[in-house]
């Protein structure tokens, strides 16, 4: 129990530190939201008079004159109540509403892509590592090449080939806008059709890391004494691969997987840009360019919670999966 208590208190401190940083960082940005909103308005053909500036400052800039510690205290209080504030760039919408409309898209797209990439990568890595030095090893450089190519470029090439030239997939968006979002077959089919290409690019770009990690762990595990023992016992190679080598080699990948699940929430800003996909990454980008502190804090909060939560889960699960950590505790 002591082990869990220690872990939990560590995470409480980490959470507080993250929340404080989350408060501080957006405020270090130059510029203020009113100026940026006006600049946007003017770019959109609006006329910006001194009166307009005054009106918008009144509308949005009510609380920025408070001293920092008052803002900090209010921030913590509101957070405790689950109130993330009002978004400036989507005024008067609540930050939580803005985030919640985008979050499902990101979680499903990036989540599914991450799961597929991890499963495929680990599976291929185990097979490649089982027979090091054969032609299968060529999978390692070819997948790491895909991972090394700048992601936006890979994505643009795929868009160009598969969507523009071949026309197999829609170019942009998250669903056919003629349909009404909801749990009906037509809409879900459309969402899958639109999400396939973005997911494919994420899988292609991240599979190399999983494969390489698993393959190397596999190679070093194969030289362990217990594998030799298993072979000497006369177990079938298939059984050794499955239950002895892979099972031990996969441990670091499991930890890595849980952590990458935490990052699913932060989504992929670039994916969403390239595909005009509705999601949290685009919101974050917009919040940063508009000095929308509240929205930025809200998005960061969700990311922080997801990453910390995933880490906590790994820490706790590890105690169960790996007997060695349990023994130490």
């Amino acid at each position: 129990m002591n082990y869990f208590l220690r872990k939990l208190s560590f995470y409480a401190v980490a959470l507080w530190a993250a929340l404080t940083l989350n408060f501080a960082i957006p405020r270090l940005l130059p510029g203020d939201p009113v100026d940026i909103l006006l600049a946007k308005l003017q770019q959109r053909g609006g006329t910006v008079t001194p009166e307009t500036r005054k009106a918008y400052a009144l509308l949005l800039g009510g609380d920025t004159s408070d001293p920092l510690w008052v803002q900090y205290w209010d921030y913590l209080k509101n957070l405790a109540r689950g109130d993330l504030g009002t978004s400036v760039s989507y005024y008067p919408a609540k930050v939580s509403d803005v985030i919640l409309t985008s979050l499902p898209w990101t979680v499903v797209l990036v989540g599914v892509a991450t799961v597929i990439a991890a499963l495929l990568g680990v599976l291929l890595g185990a097979i490649v590592g089982w027979k090091p030095g054969t032609w299968l090893d060529s999978l390692v450089p070819s997948t790491t090449l895909l991972a090394a190519v700048p992601y936006f470029w890979l994505a643009l090439i795929l868009v160009y080939l598969l969507a523009r030239v071949l026309g197999w997939f829609p170019l942009q968006g998250g669903y056919d806008v003629v349909l009404t979002p909801g749990w009906n077959g037509e809409f879900i089919a459309s969402a899958i059709q639109y999400g396939f290409l973005p997911a494919l690019t994420i899988v292609l770009a991240s599979i190399g890391g999983w494969l390489l990690g698993m393959r190397n762990m596999m190679v070093s595990t194969l030289s362990e004494d217990y594998i030799l023992t298993a072979e000497a016992k006369g177990l079938s190679p298939r059984k050794i691969l499955r239950s002895y080598a892979s099972r031990n080699a996969v441990l670091p990948s499991v930890a890595g997987f849980a952590i990458s699940l935490g990052f699913v929430v932060s989504g992929s800003v670039i994916t969403e840009q390239v595909f005009s996909y509705p999601g949290i990454g685009g919101r974050l980008l917009g919040a940063v360019t508009n000095n929308d502190y509240a929205l930025m804090q809200g998005v960061f909060l969700f990311i922080t919670l997801a990453v910390l939560g995933a880490n906590l889960l790994v820490d706790l699960l590890y105690g169960l999966i790996d007997p060695r950590t349990r023994a130490r505790a």
Partner: protein, 559 residues
């Protein structure tokens, strides 16, 4: 052991299934990207990221509905010097001294929920704005009274001619019977009710759709549906044009001059409104530092630019001539003072003129070919926003041109926020930017916004539009005088325009570059009636909401 066996086959099957499904679906749609657009006119306003519902016409974060759903009293066509076109009102007249504006409203107009539109709605709208400073963007401070259902008067304490276009053409009228019960600042109006030619059909974060109003007073428009799409930015917009999924966007696409050849269904049309400038922190008295505080340097820069070369290298030949008097050319040429010697900025570089100007002001050329004075080298930093690629190319081009004239220019890229901050606080030497127009096609507004000292500030303070910190009593006086004269008093106003133009050409706090083009790419295969040189009835930009609404009403589907 057995649990370990589980995931593999299942995952593989799921993946194969997803792949098959994806392929099957795409096979069904046959790759025709047009299938999703249906019969609607699909437009892209440059909205980056999803829409958040907000159809409150007074909210700075509104996503639409101006002009299409909520109408103003008149429509001002900023593309041409012209009479305002009547919408909800049919006539407007000022009294002699500009304190009373009488307006006659259109008879028989109905709100889209069936209630009658009357003068009370107009009175309500303006009273509401006056009572809510946070949304009173035009600073309305007069009183409105209705004489009967179609006649009303606006009364002001001071001559207010120049505010007229803001009130008549820039203030959407809302229904009293619905708005009296809502918070006009915070309500997002999920079900907007207006008098306009369009109604809100449906809203989704990725797109919202308007449908034509069958009861519209001007007759139901030919375009039955307009869909506003959200994409991730200009690049995505260009992709959508290439794929044929949108019908109208305003923004650059590659090889824009040959749009019609590359995409036979589309054509590009350009109008010029944004006067691109190198804004200077001009006033040494207010704390500006650097060589640009010397007017001779600003003039030398003006003559050092080879605008023809600049246009082809940085602006894909979409920019146009510019007048140092800051009247739009050619649409406002009539306002240019006879005293302005060069009504158009020179199109080629004049390094000799630049050299003469600098030497007369005491600058001397150093060994490295760059001028210097009192040990200070003529080196200037131009602030630009990272990612504004056309402006960055423009600075690079101008830097090499200026070098030939003995001036060193360097670009400093920063984020938009930082750039805005630098301009506001005055911590810059030069900033590349563009000056915008007012609510009516009249140069008064630009002079008032950018040259009047009231919107300037000391360095360190926060400046408004006049971030160049230009301060000239003669200009302030002329701007103030113009505010008391009717906009149609051409003869009387010209002497004040002359005074302003003489001063600003001489001081040149904003160094004219060129007039930037606003290019619309639109579908000419399926729709006719777009604005053209022959009939420029509105400014052709989809993000200019009132203009776009006029265009929707004029368009007709082909065939």
């Amino acid at each position: 052991m057995s649990p370990k066996n589980g995931p593999r086959p299942r995952a593989a099957a799921a993946l194969a299934g997803a792949a098959a499904l994806g392929l099957a679906l795409s096979a069904c749609s046959g790759g025709s990207a047009d299938s999703s657009s249906g019969d609607a006119l699909v437009v892209y306003t440059g909205q980056a990221g999803d829409y958040q519902i907000n159809f409150n016409p007074f909210s700075p974060t509104k996503i639409g509905a101006l002009g299409t759903i909520y109408e103003t009293l008149f429509f001002y066509n900023k593309a041409e010097v012209s009479e305002p076109a009547p919408l909800l009102a049919t006539e407007q007249a000022w009294n002699e001294d500009g304190t009373v504006l009488s307006v006659v409203l259109r008879d028989g107009v109905e709100w889209s929920d069936g209630e009658a539109f009357t003068a009370d709605d107009v009175v309500f709208t303006f009273d509401m704005l006056k009572g809510q400073p946070a949304i009173n963007a035009s600073g309305f401070d007069g009183t409105v009274e209705a004489q009967d259902d179609t006649h009303l008067t606006f009364t002001f304490e001071e001559p207010t001619f120049v505010k007229g276009p803001d009130l008549m053409g820039n203030t959407p009228i809302v229904p009293e019977h619905l708005w009296k019960d809502v918070n006009p600042v915070e309500d997002v109006m999920e079900e907007p009710v207006g008098t306009g030619a369009y109604l809100l059909k449906e809203f989704k974060p990725q797109a919202y759709t308007l449908e034509s109003n069958p009861e519209y007073w001007g007759g139901e428009p030919e375009i039955k549906e307009v869909r506003y799409l959200s994409l991730s930015g200009n690049q995505a917009g260009a992709d959508a044009i290439a794929a044929g999924t949108i019908d109208w966007q305003t923004g650059p696409i590659p090889d824009i001059q040959n749009t019609n050849r590359n995409f036979p269904n589309y054509d590009a049309y350009t109008q010029w409104q944004n006067q691109m400038v190198l804004a200077t922190c001009s006033s040494a008295e207010l704390g500006c530092e650097g060589p640009q505080t010397d007017p001779a340097v600003r003039h030398a820069l003006y003559y050092a630019i080879d605008r023809e070369q600049l246009n082809s290298l940085a602006f894909m030949d979409t920019a146009n001539d510019m007048s140092p008097a800051f009247t739009l050319t050619p649409s406002q040429d009539q306002y240019v003072s006879a005293a302005v010697e060069e009504p158009i900025a020179p199109t080629t570089a004049q390094p000799d003129t630049a050299a003469d100007l600098l030497e007369a002001a005491g600058w001397a050329k150093g060994d490295d070919g760059i001028y210097a004075k009192d040990g200070e080298k003529l080196t200037l930093t131009v602030e630009v926003v990272t990612g504004w690629t056309d402006y960055i190319t423009a600075i690079d081009t101008m830097a090499s041109q200026a070098k030939a004239a003995g001036i060193e220019l360097t670009a400093a890229q920063s984020s938009w926020n930082e750039w805005t901050e630098k301009k506001g606080s005055g911590n810059f030497q030069l900033a590349i930017d563009s000056l915008w127009q007012g609510p009516a096609p009249d140069p008064y507004y630009l002079y008032n916004y950018f040259y009047d000292s009231s919107s300037g500030a000391e360095v360190g303070g926060s400046a408004g539009n006049n971030y160049a910190r230009y301060e000239n009593p003669a200009v302030d006086e002329a701007v103030a005088a113009l505010a008391t004269m009717p906009l149609d008093d051409a003869a009387g106003r010209q002497s004040h325009f002359d005074a302003i133009q003489t001063e600003i050409v001489e001081d040149m706090p904003y160094v004219p570059i060129m007039t930037g083009g606003t290019t619309s790419i639109w579908n000419t295969a399926e729709y006719t009636g777009w604005p053209s040189d022959e009939d420029l009835y509105a400014f052709p930009a989809i993000w200019s909401a009132y203009d776009a609404a006029e265009i929707f009403k004029r368009l007709e589907p082909k065939g």
